[in-house]
Symmetry: C2
Subunit: 101 residues, 2 copies
């Protein structure tokens, strides 16, 4: 992970809503039990929109930021987009931070 990538990751975490989203995605069955599609796909954007209480476009931008940073992945199924944590990247990020900080 380059220094530029690390920077992008930390910046992605520097907004409480984005950290909330990452946390919700940690236990989808707890926070998104009402999803009609299997949670194994991930959580679809609309439900995340609802949970934040922010507008659809704002949340879409937050999700894009998290994805660019590598923290989440997107899986498109039909007209829905499902998001899930990228645990491997998150682990790498944490160990990098533990060394470097």
């Amino acid at each position: 992970m380059s220094s530029t990538e690390l920077d992008e990751m930390i910046k992605a975490l520097s907004h409480p809503v984005r950290r909330d989203i990452l946390n919700w995605l940690k236990q989808p069955e707890l926070y998104f039990s009402d999803q009609e599609h299997p949670l194994s796909f991930g959580v679809c954007a609309g439900l995340i929109d609802q949970k934040t209480g922010l507008s659809q476009s704002t949340v879409s931008a937050h999700l894009a930021t998290l994805q660019r940073a590598g923290f989440i992945s997107r899986k498109k199924v039909g007209q829905w987009n499902f998001f899930a944590r990228n645990e491997e990247i998150i682990k790498q990020f944490l160990s990098r931070l533990n060394e470097q900080l």
Copy 2:
């Protein structure tokens, strides 16, 4: 550490120069060997100014940000201000992030 404090800490880290400063302070004898005062006091602001290449006022603001976040402490001796890492807080921050992320 409250959620507001955590937020302030992550924001403090979300600027590369502030992360650089934290890193330099990890090994003062390596990066600030030319300091005339004992490094046990910490590193004085002027030397950090030089090392960043940014203006005095800009670096002063960065140092204030790091201090508000709790990452560094300030020790005033005569007309100089010496800064040092607050290892305990940094450790707490990392373990909090490891849990929460």
